[in-house]
Symmetry: C2
Subunit: 327 residues, 2 copies
């Protein structure tokens, strides 16, 4: 079912995705080789372009006919790529989308500086809109993302993390970017406050569900499908909702077993399998799917105020897809 | 003489510096402990506040009476602090202003993410001006700074670096920030184009001279006065103007000696002294001082179009001080 949904979405956004690809490449063209090479490595390695796509579709939903929607949509992919470059460093990741991470192809310094460059590029593009509200949203996204990552980093291995803490972290590190992509379109289109709020709610809820789905993949996919080492979150001591819920529900013995595994430096395949089994047993996986599904419902309800259109249909499909996606 | 000049400047900007300190602290206050701690570590360790001070004085020169000049001036200190956090990582520095660098007190990841946060904070403040031109300047500064650092990083140890290459790097990594601090005041004050250009020229030339003076300190100060390991640039293979000029003027034997020293991993105190002696002998030190002095002259000429005022006098004093400063 998820494959059908994916194909239906893709067939309807083919032209938009092509325009986004062109805009992404055009905006990097004038920069010198190394910057472009590193930026291209992270940007053109099979990203879904979900964030710029949400921006383009939201603009269409709002009836925005201004120039440069695709150009402005790249703001959200550049921001995303910038944080990937820095986060891979922070997490000391080795693979991303089946390719070695930038800081291993080049070096840490280059990854830091090209991340800064992409961040700056997205802000330059934001300033080209000439709309201070847009820039405020973009700057706010950047503040939130760095704070979310810092919070996550410094609570690594903290088995007292609550569901509320987790929601706060994924709101900042992921959902504000989705929210911003949808909201900026509403601002550019000058729609009434009510519609701007509706699109913000749609984006934020999609973002939350998307991150929960992402966190589930670490426990439900194999390493080849995932394009990176499986169980990475657990190995790093990064507690996501499936684990938080299971810790909350497990009996004392199993709780102690999960905590010990989280605190270990190295994790065998068998130990990882044992934890995964407990996440299923104590409903961590199921609970995460349920909460994510609730956010998908909220996202869909939020845009109910818009008239029927193809853009709306696609946004509703994307909401469903955010949850069932396998990657 | 440089001490007298410094005291004269300080006595005249005492109130401004106090207001800048207050604004720097106030703007960090609402953020959670770790972010504030790391930000404070880099921000409150004896920085000169030269960039926000230039902004405040430029605003006064333009007769700007709007609210929040001190608040907006922090944009330039936050930007500066963000790049220091990332650059210390890139350069793998150990000390900054006599204190251990942030990435050794905390860790690399924290330094990267708090740098991102400060960058975002400066952009949020820029968006509060409500002026897209201001945001364009700030985003442009950030793009330039990251590009300048990348260029510098990837030409480490490259003994073919020319004086023009060096000027391009220091323009991007240092001078655009000084230029921006002065220019933003002119934009906020709505002065005619001619005056905006004059203040941009002033700031850019001060920035170029300031960086040249900084690069000279590596060869003219001892480690205690410098607050970090002396000869760091040479050890890292970072070629600055004194070296570039000496390489250009040295005879074949001495040129080969300098190149060999640059290419060595470890550098003894004696080897460093030998190179420093050659930088003097072949006029590298003298030439750098001369070029820096030319930029100081240009900076002072640029603001000749403004009427006499105390702000102008201080800006002229700062121009002189940028060159003679011992730290």
């Amino acid at each position: 079912m998820s494959e059908d949904l994916k194909q239906r979405i893709l067939s309807r956004v083919k032209k938009d995705l092509a325009a986004i690809e062109t805009a992404l490449a055009d905006n990097l063209d004038p920069y010198f080789d190394l910057v472009s090479d590193v930026a291209r490595h992270i940007l053109f390695s099979g990203g879904k372009r979900l964030r710029p796509l949400l921006m383009v579709l939201s603009a269409r939903l709002c009836g925005y006919n201004g120039d440069g929607v695709e150009k402005f949509s790249t703001i959200f992919e550049y921001l995303h790529a910038a944080t990937l470059l820095h986060d891979d460093l922070v997490d000391d990741g080795t693979m991303r989308r089946g390719k070695p991470v930038a800081h291993s192809v080049w070096d840490n310094s280059t990854a830091v500086l090209v991340g800064d460059f992409l961040l700056a590029r997205s802000l330059s593009l934001a300033s080209e809109t000439g709309r201070p509200e847009v820039i405020k949203v973009i700057a706010g996204i950047t503040e939130n993302m760095s704070q979310g990552e810092i919070e996550q980093l410094h609570r690594k291995g903290d088995t007292d993390l609550t569901e509320a803490d987790y929601m706060e972290v994924i709101l900042r590190k992921t959902a504000v970017l989705f929210e911003g992509a949808c909201r900026v379109s509403a601002i550019l289109a000058d729609v009434p406050e009510e519609k701007e709020q509706a699109l913000s709610d749609y984006g934020r809820n999609i973002g939350l569900a998307f991150q929960m789905a992402d966190d589930l993949l670490d426990y439900t996919l194999d390493s080849k499908a995932l394009g990176k080492v499986v169980g990475a979150d657990l190995r790093e001591g990064k507690l996501t909702l499936p684990v938080i819920r299971a810790l909350d529900r497990a009996d004392d013995g199993d709780r102690a077993r999960i905590v010990r595994t989280i605190q270990k430096k190295d994790l065998s395949t068998q130990e990882f399998k044992n934890v995964t089994a407990m996440l299923h047993e104590y409903g961590g996986i199921e609970h995460t799917r349920k909460i994510a599904a609730e956010h998908i419902d909220r996202a869909k309800q939020a845009i109910a105020i818009f008239d029927a259109s193809q853009a709306k249909e696609i946004l509703l499909d994307i909401a469903d897809y955010a949850l069932v996606r396998q990657l």
